[in-house]
């Protein structure tokens, strides 16, 4: 960990580690789109990304934009060691997305003390160090 200050124009958040099977996810996130794989044969969503549908074993899934709506499943406030890429302790949460899977993300625009299980949230995007974006979530109705 380094205490070196980032230039103010640069986001401190770590870039995602991008694998070939998940490149579509991060390419879309960089454009502000929250997407997932859906099987062309049986229509089931899958996450984390993978090349084959576990239900019918088809390859070549559709990449579809999700509603961006979800609910808070669980949430924590990591404090020590201080998470890399954050000025304040982040709210890390598991979000259950409307399409039926969980994803690790951050809750923004809400204090840790005010987070509740089942809270309705909506996707937003946050920049990373080298100009990528990651999906984060905000309480519905929060400006």
């Amino acid at each position: 960990m380094s205490d070196t200050e980032q230039p103010s124009t640069m986001a401190p958040r770590l870039d995602p580690v991008i694998t070939l099977d998940a490149k579509f996810f991060w390419d879309n996130a960089a454009k502000g789109k929250f997407v997932a794989q859906r099987c062309r044969e049986c229509g089931s969503f899958r996450f984390p990304p993978r090349p084959m549908c576990p239900e019918c074993h088809a390859l070549d899934p559709e990449i579809v934009e999700l509603s961006g709506r979800g609910t808070v499943y669980s949430f924590i406030n990591p404090q020590h060691p201080r998470p890399v890429g954050f000025k304040d302790f982040p709210v890390v949460a598991l979000i259950e997305v409307e399409e039926g899977f969980r994803i690790v993300s951050n809750l923004e625009g809400v204090a840790f003390e005010d987070v509740r299980p089942g809270m309705a949230v909506q996707v937003d995007f946050a920049p990373t160090m080298k100009g990528k974006q990651v999906p984060v979530f905000r309480p519905v109705g929060e400006e």
């Binding site: 924590i76 404090q79 020590h80 060691p81 951050n106």
Partner: protein
């Protein structure tokens, strides 16, 4: 060697000192603990014909076998899944002996996990993203500040707290018990250093509202080794044979180690431990009440809660009361982690909890449990029952 079924046993155990700075290479630690385990069994190192460790171990089979002068190695393998590999090493050694394919299987795990690298610090585990370690989904955590094992565990355990109303103070009671065990175990890093619940509650938050510092295992340097052979041969060796009554692995659909969020089940549950439990009880015909003690992988306190429930020692959500009521104490119905565990003794990736079970069955443990006939050893995705011969 005839390929007929043979019962397997643990014939030898060995370890280095547990420290925060071993001041020597991981290979040297591996060689020292391996030699100690073979000496304990009374088997010449050259006779090793099988070698098993974790995918994450830093020493090479060939380099270690060169140290030991192994004359003809018949089998090697490595197990993925971080610490979940711990008891799986015993399972696979048992299977090789059962099948008549190996006579002397050496299991080792040696690490400078404090002085050379630290699992508890962010972004030090590049290996965690690489295929073959069973932990590839961790990359979905890193940009969000979930960068340590404590944060990954806390995301699941927070759901457990929601569902059952468990508190960090409940988790603290387990830590207090384990530190009490460690305080009377001369091999433990926290020997003669018990803690009170108040001290637990005053320790800093690692991941609020789930884990404080004293809910976390240590970061340690050290090595641990086991020698597995046939029960028949073990009976003629130096130590009392410790029978491997049963052992198995279980990785249910969509489960993975630590960042285990992507299956359809409730995260208050531990499906992999539940799978291990049902397979182990079915394989052996035994039940929770038959166990004299349990050594449950304790990277963090809540993992022990979920294992107690998954193995059926208490009902879902009842672990807090089970611990509060003294069941896991030395005189309780099921002493747990009697060496102090990974929290109190040392973190040798779960392997030092297996050697403790062996000592308990032999009757040579620092905190000896009365009438220790059967010990359950669990690393979540793998479990074993070790028994008096």
């Amino acid at each position: 060697m005839a390929r007929t079924f043979r019962e397997a046993a643990i014939a030898g155990i060995g370890q280095t000192e547990f420290s925060k700075a071993s001041k020597r290479s991981e290979l040297q630690l591996a060689a020292e603990c391996s030699k100690a385990a073979l000496d304990d069994a009374g088997i010449h190192p050259s006779e090793v014909d099988g070698m098993i460790t974790f995918t994450l171990d830093g020493s090479d089979e060939v380099h270690l076998s060169r140290c030991l002068g192994v004359k003809d190695l018949a089998y090697t393998t490595r197990i993925p899944g971080g610490g979940a590999a711990a008891v799986a090493t015993v399972y696979q050694a048992m299977a090789m002996v059962n099948a008549g394919l190996c006579e002397t299987v050496l299991i080792w795990r040696a690490m400078n996990e404090r002085s050379q690298y630290r699992f508890g610090q962010p972004i030090t585990m590049e290996a965690a993203f690489q295929p073959g370690n069973g932990t590839g989904s961790l990359l979905w955590c890193m940009p969000f500040g979930a960068q340590t094992p404590a944060t990954w565990e806390a995301l699941a355990a927070q759901r457990y707290m929601q569902k059952y109303g468990a508190t960090n103070e409940d988790f603290g009671r387990l830590s207090v018990v384990q530190r009490r065990y460690a305080s009377t175990n001369p091999a433990a890093w926290f020997y003669e250093k018990p803690i009170t619940l108040e001290e637990h509650q005053a320790s800093r938050w690692i991941a609020a509202p789930v884990l404080r510092m004293f809910d976390c295992c240590q970061e340690s340097d050290g090595g641990v080794a086991l020698v597995v052979t046939s029960l028949e041969r073990a009976r003629d060796l130096k130590q009392a044979a410790v029978r491997i009554t049963g052992a198995c692995q279980s990785i249910p659909r969509d489960n993975e180690v630590i960042s285990n969020y992507f299956h359809r089940g409730d995260l208050a549950d531990m499906p992999e431990a539940r799978g291990t439990a049902s397979r182990l009880w079915a394989q052996t015909g035994m039940k929770p009440q038959d166990m004299s003690l349990a050594m449950l992988y304790d990277a963090f306190t809540p993992v022990v809660f979920r294992q107690l429930e998954a193995f059926g020692f208490c009902g879902p959500g009842e672990a807090a009361d089970f611990i509060k009521d003294g069941h896991i104490d030395q005189e309780g119905s099921l002493p747990v982690n009697t060496n102090g565990g990974l929290i109190g003794e040392a973190y040798i990736h779960g392997m030092n909890n297996i050697t403790e079970a062996v000592r308990q069955i032999r009757g040579t443990a620092a905190n000896q449990v009365r009438d220790a006939d059967h010990a359950l050893v669990s690393s979540g995705m793998a479990g074993a029952i070790l028994s008096r011969d």
